[in-house]
């Protein structure tokens, strides 16, 4: 029964399967011991290298594209005007597929082989956790444009890491304060059980405590749950008048659809989501259930009803479309992309303020930026404030009213 040719075939296809299984393994950087950066003489500097790492393939591909588009356009603009301190910027972009191990080996490669002067990225909090210690040990100025875990910015532990994007904690505080100040009586906290979700829960609880209030219910679920009826029922049973959605777009959409089944949508309740709820996934998937949902958005990336988009942001949209095409521009998250765009400019500010390429000088210079007019927000840094953004820069928009990734301002 066993014909002989089958055995060969088996070997072949077995090998093919293995090959398919083996994901492109991370390139291991040659040696672990980092070379101490020879302090470059200002005069003989030929190029200023910025390394960017983000997830550009795989499930979080869109996040990496935010980083790629934002930094690419910023660097093009800067180089067109003569570069940093008269030195052109070379941008090196790498894809970590959201894999922390890969992220770290890529960071090693950027530092040892590409000899980067500064770093922007990555795009997933887990990856950031993996590479931040390494970058800081090597005194690489690090600008975080899109990882929102609050703990990532810690002036003592990571003295060279800065962030432009609003962080999760600030969003949580903003949402809780807003709901309480609006006089909502029964507020539901809605979040998943991932690290992000439980972090958000702790942040929201802390904010409630600060305001001397209690949330009415705490609703958790697993990322990717399909049947969200239990979550919806919990919200309805508690007769909540406000639900704070610290949810990914897809999960948020499932919850809104479940609320629709229970006939418990706005205006019976106010749904207020953090920035992820602003992703196209939420409104596309929730369909009619998305009507009336509010979402956090940087004030600068909003427009007023019946008014055109703000000129600066509109110009950036056009730059993205010209460079990468209209279709893909539609798929990125505009506010995050311009947060990355701002990262490149903050580095430029930091270098040019002291006219030095030395990490400690740049760090000091960035810490002295007190009001930088960015495309995403106005940033204020300080020696104890490496998070340049803060809740004062946030507004709420209507998820269903948007143009080119920007939301119509509600308040």
């Amino acid at each position: 029964m066993e014909d002989v040719s089958r055995r060969k075939f088996m070997k072949l296809s077995g090998a093919a399967t293995l090959a398919a299984l083996a994901f492109p393994a991370g390139i291991l950087a040659g040696c672990g011991s980092p070379q101490t950066q020879s302090s470059n003489k200002e005069s003989d500097k030929k190029e200023f290298v910025i390394g960017v790492i983000g997830a550009m393939t795989g499930a979080s591909a869109q996040l990496g594209n935010n980083a790629k588009y934002g930094t690419t356009i910023a660097v093009e603009e800067i180089n067109a005007k003569g570069g940093i301190n008269g030195v052109p910027i070379r941008l090196v972009i790498r894809d970590d597929e959201a894999d922390p191990t890969k992220s770290l080996s890529l960071a090693r490669e950027l530092v040892t082989k590409e000899k980067i002067d500064a770093f922007i990225g990555p795009t997933n909090t887990t990856c950031a956790k993996a590479i931040q210690p390494y970058l800081n040990q090597n005194k690489i100025i690090h600008l975080n444009g899109g990882c929102t875990g609050a703990a990532l910015i810690n002036e003592k532990e990571f003295p060279y890491s800065f962030r432009t994007h609003i962080n999760d904690r600030d969003q949580a505080i903003f949402m809780v304060k807003r709901a309480v100040n609006k006089g909502r009586q029964k507020i539901a906290m809605v979040h998943d059980t991932s690290a992000l979700g439980s972090g958000a829960k702790a942040d929201m609880e802390a904010a409630f405590k600060q305001m001397g209030k209690q949330p009415a219910v705490d609703c958790s679920y697993n990322v990717g749950d399909v049947d969200m009826l239990p979550v919806a029922r919990k919200i309805k049973d508690a007769q909540c008048d406000s639900a704070l959605f610290f949810t990914l777009g897809v999960d948020g959409a499932q919850i809104s659809k479940a609320l629709e089944k229970l006939d418990y949508l706005p205006p019976k309740i106010e749904l207020h989501g953090y920035t992820s709820v602003g992703q196209p996934a939420y409104r596309d998937l929730a369909g009619s259930a998305a009507n009336g949902t509010l979402v956090n958005t940087p004030t600068k990336c909003t427009y007023k009803e019946n008014e055109p988009l703000p000129a600066r942001q509109a110009a950036l949209v056009k730059a993205f479309e010209d460079k990468f095409g209209a279709k893909v521009t539609n798929e990125i998250i505009f506010a995050t992309a311009v947060s990355f765009y701002d990262c490149a400019y903050i580095i430029k500010e930091g270098v040019e303020k002291n006219k030095s390429y030395e990490a400690d000088k740049i760090k000091g210079a960035i810490e002295s930026i007190t009001n930088y007019d960015g495309a995403n927000s106005n940033y204020k840094f300080g020696p104890d404030k490496h998070d340049g953004n803060d809740p004062s820069q946030l507004s709420v928009g209507l998820v269903t009213k948007y143009t080119k990734g920007m939301f119509q301002l509600v308040e």
Partner: protein, 238 residues
């Protein structure tokens, strides 16, 4: 009817059957005897297409079937009752017979007629028709296996050690059945350890030794060959 010409069969690199030729004529009962491991089952599997010879040809009614897939060979009218019975253990007796008659399933009257015939030949099967085959006794399973093979109206029936593991009373029954089938016009190729019983009902016989035909002739000739008597028939005379 069946003419096997110089076939060689190997498992992997090991050649088990070397240059074997034999034939079975219309209406005959032909028996192949040989020690354990001589290659009898291998030959049967090769004739039914479950194994492919590396060389040689197998002519069934003049057509070379050496490269024909097993399921097509059955269609030509060659059925086998495999070694170790191999009834479908989770199917009922009736379902086993239905599968045996898979090829004539469209011809309802013929199918019905065959079932009746098998029930007549093996009344126990009728009694047990709803029983799951795995729970039948060894002898009953053997009868079922033969009946199943007969369901497709084979012109040539191959039986691989139908008596293996059976009590003497069953053995006698089985050989009676085989003779009956032969009388009803089925040509039979039989592989047997029970050489004396087999030779009694056979017309001709072959002796297989380590993959080669050592001897061939009429059943009577073989029965009286001194070497055969010594190696296969023992001192016991029936």
């Amino acid at each position: 009817m069946l003419k096997v010409n110089n076939i060689h069969v190997s498992y992997g690199k090991v050649e088990i059957i070397k240059q074997v030729s034999f034939e079975v004529n219309q209406g005959e009962v032909v028996v192949i005897i040989g020690a354990n491991g001589a290659g009898k089952t291998t030959i049967m599997k090769t004739v039914t297409g479950l194994l492919k010879p590396t060389q040689g040809e197998i002519l069934f009614e003049g057509q070379n079937i050496a490269r024909t897939p097993a399921e097509k060979i059955v269609k030509l009218g060659l059925a086998m009752c495999p070694e170790g019975r191999q009834v479908f253990p989770q199917h009922t007796v009736y379902e086993n017979l239905v599968l045996g008659g898979y090829l004539i399933r469209k011809d309802k009257p013929m199918f019905q007629k065959n079932i009746e015939q098998m029930y007549n030949l093996f009344p126990i099967l009728k009694e047990r028709s709803k029983q799951v085959a795995g729970t039948l006794s060894g002898g009953e399973q053997q009868m079922l296996a033969i009946a199943r093979a007969m369901m497709s109206n084979p012109k040539l029936l191959l039986l691989d050690e139908p008596s293996a593991g059976l009590a003497p009373i069953y053995v006698k029954n089985i050989f009676d059945m085989i003779q009956k089938l032969s009388e009803q016009g089925t040509t039979i190729l039989l592989v047997e350890q029970m050489a004396n019983m087999a030779l009694k009902i056979a017309d001709r016989a072959y002796v297989l030794e380590t993959g080669r035909i050592a001897l061939g002739g009429t059943a009577v000739e073989i029965m009286n060959d001194p070497k055969v008597v010594e190696s296969y028939l023992g001192s016991k005379k029936y």
